[in-house]
């Protein structure tokens, strides 16, 4: 048989019953597109998480109180110790509390962060209006505050917030600055935050010297590891208990975040791959039906001189054509689908060409693998049995 005749035969097998062919290929279409969409969501999430973590600032080491400590050891007293380390540049305390900020009749729940004057430079915060808290504000524990972009807009609308008063618990703060809109960072929206001097926060609101987190910025990327171990050593000396504090650096966070998304992607695409196998079983089922239906045809073909491998190829190619068509359609559906996901759910998606190649290859393998048994059954058919089949 000529190669073109094999192709013609396989295509006529697929097109002779178009509706059945589409239903059969549907399993593969769904499987391949599911693989592509899940991987694109996973890749998108990973890229976004990484950029979010990067945006929080660079070369940062986060120090917070340990899970098991009854009394927090991370207090204002620790700050000068960490500042004294030579590999550490800036040190930013964060005293945080969920609270309600009130202006006129408007009351909004927000995360209040008590911090120091160097917060904007370390955490990449830019101001849209006014200025950030100064060292003088921190030293005297002033009642000035800076608002996130969303919070300012919700409290003041079109009015200029600068110089206005807001009330937090029983304390009245004066707005001296409004931050630029940063967008959702995934952890806590800084657009909804309120910044006050940490000294004021401790004296007037929390009533203790405790600090939730201390952000230490290493002088450069190469001294991150050294800074980390020096901070650890200092804290061990100060507290004598390694469970009373936690230190994490950005690299760890990046690693954890990408580990999490990798695992999720693998899990989801594994589920998608299972549906590809189910699609393959569908192809096998329909090919078995097709071989049985065409028993007489196989008998006739064999009687006039078709060889076993020619019958085998006919059915294998038909199965491969079905699942390849499914694979190609699946790729189209996957590409369109991941666009729709990113538009409708506003999730970032990034189509990974590797997943497209994987889906395509898998669909071909599925077709050949699940087409093999029915094709073999047809090829081995005794011509006499085929000719007698009604």
């Amino acid at each position: 048989m000529r190669p073109a005749d094999y192709l013609r035969l396989a295509l006529s097998g697929v097109t002779s019953n178009p509706f059945r062919s589409i239903l059969t290929a549907l399993g593969v279409i769904i499987g391949v597109s599911a693989v592509i969409i899940t991987v694109s969501i996973g890749t998108g999430a990973k890229v976004q998480t990484q950029s979010q973590i990067q945006r929080l600032g660079s070369n940062l080491i986060t120090i917070s109180s340990g899970y098991r400590s009854l009394r927090s050891v991370i207090t204002s007293d620790i700050l000068p110790i960490i500042e004294s380390i030579n590999t550490v540049g800036e040190v930013v305390p964060q005293v945080q509390r969920q609270s309600t900020v009130v202006h006129g009749a408007e009351g909004l729940s927000t995360t209040v962060t008590g911090t120091s004057a160097n917060y904007p430079s370390v955490r990449n915060l830019k101001l849209a209006q006014g200025s950030f808290l100064t060292d003088a504000d921190i030293d005297k524990g002033s009642w000035n505050c800076v608002l996130g972009a969303d919070l300012a807009e919700e409290l003041f609308g079109d009015d200029n917030p600068l110089g206005q008063k807001v009330r937090l618990d029983r304390v009245r703060f004066t707005v001296i600055g409004v931050a630029q809109r940063q967008g959702d960072s995934g952890f806590a929206s800084s657009d909804n935050a309120m910044y006050v001097p940490y000294t004021t926060m401790q004296r007037r609101i929390t009533g203790s010297k405790n600090i939730n987190t201390i952000i230490a910025q290493a002088v450069d990327a190469s001294s991150m590891d050294l800074a980390y171990s020096q901070i650890y050593a200092m804290l061990m000396m100060a507290t004598g208990d390694e469970d009373s504090f936690r230190i994490s650096n950005q690299a760890d966070m990046l690693e954890v975040a990408s580990d999490v998304t990798d695992t999720m992607t693998l899990l989801l695409s594994g589920i998608a791959a299972v549906s590809l196998v189910v699609g393959g079983i569908g192809i096998m089922n329909i090919m078995l039906v097709s071989v049985t239906e065409r028993t007489r045809e196989i008998g006739i073909r064999k009687a006039i001189g078709a060889k076993e491998h020619e019958i085998l190829s006919q059915f294998m190619l038909e199965a491969a054509a079905l699942s390849l068509a499914g694979g190609l359609l699946g790729i189209v559906v996957g590409l369109v689908g991941s666009r729709i996901v990113s538009q409708v759910f506003s999730w970032p998606t990034a189509v990974d060409m590797k997943s497209v190649a994987l889906g395509f290859t898998l669909s071909l393998i599925v077709g050949v693998f699940f087409g093999a048994y029915p094709a073999y059954k047809g090829a081995k058919l005794d011509p006499i049995v085929g000719l007698r089949y009604e």
């Binding site: 048989m1 002779s16 073909r301 064999k302 006039i304 001189g305 011509p383």
Partner: protein, 232 residues
């Protein structure tokens, strides 16, 4: 040496779970020379179709030897048997056995597809074969658009297209009226005159009377081998 030579050929079928054995052929000796026109007569169950299937390399004997043109068929593999069916044999069946999805010319050219003939050449050959059975004008009709006699003529054209040395016909007139039957027999006789060896199986003495040699089978054995006198 004869073209077709069967020596002590037996065929036994196992029915059910192998407990009951049916002996379809019981040690048949048969020789058919090139260019002969032979009919095999017998009741159903006499083993005549089994014999034809063995001669056509569709089936293998349980015991005995089948020599085709000096070649022991039992020694051939399935690909070689397919080759024999494709190049040397042409089949005509009682129920025509055309592929319903293909046109008349598509059915006729099918043996040439498996022979690997170029599409343009095989189309020409198929049209010529259809012309020989008088159906060139029906080339693009599908089997269900043709009468029984016409379908059988398409089937004969399919048997002829690869220039076989032997044409085997199993009850070729079994599903046809008398007029169509005689037309088919005329075509087969015409093919025989061109030098093709023709073997037909029939239970109809009227049909068998068209052939110069008649073998009669009963219970898996050849009980009579009659040759008409020359010129009759």
């Amino acid at each position: 040496m004869s073209l077709i030579e069967l020596k002590e050929v037996s065929k036994t079928y196992s029915m059910g779970k192998g407990s009951i054995e049916v002996r379809a052929l019981k040690g048949v000796d048969l020789a058919v020379d090139e260019g002969e026109f032979v009919s095999i007569m017998g009741q159903s169950g006499s083993g005549k179709s089994t014999l034809l299937n063995i001669v056509g390399c569709l089936d293998k004997p349980t015991s005995g030897e089948y020599w085709l043109d000096g070649c022991l068929v039992g020694s051939l593999g399935s690909d070689e048997l397919a080759e024999v069916r494709n190049k040397i044999m042409g089949f005509v069946f009682q129920s025509f056995n055309l592929l319903p999805k293909l046109t008349a010319v598509g059915n006729v050219e099918l043996p040439l597809v498996y022979a690997g003939v170029h599409p343009r050449i095989r189309r020409e050959e198929a049209i010529r074969a259809l012309d020989m059975v008088g159906l060139a004008d029906r080339a693009s009709h599908r089997p269900n658009e043709l009468s029984g006699g016409q379908q059988q003529r398409v089937a004969i054209a399919r048997a002829l297209v690869s220039n076989p040395r032997v044409v085997l016909a199993d009850e070729p007139t079994g599903n046809l009226d008398t007029k169509s039957s005689y037309e088919i027999m005329d075509i087969l006789a015409d093919m025989n005159k061109r030098g093709i060896t023709v073997v037909i199986v029939t239970h109809d003495p009227d049909i068998a009377a068209h052939t110069p040699r008649v073998l009669t089978f009963r219970d898996g054995e050849c009980i009579e081998d009659v040759r008409a006198l020359e010129g009759v």
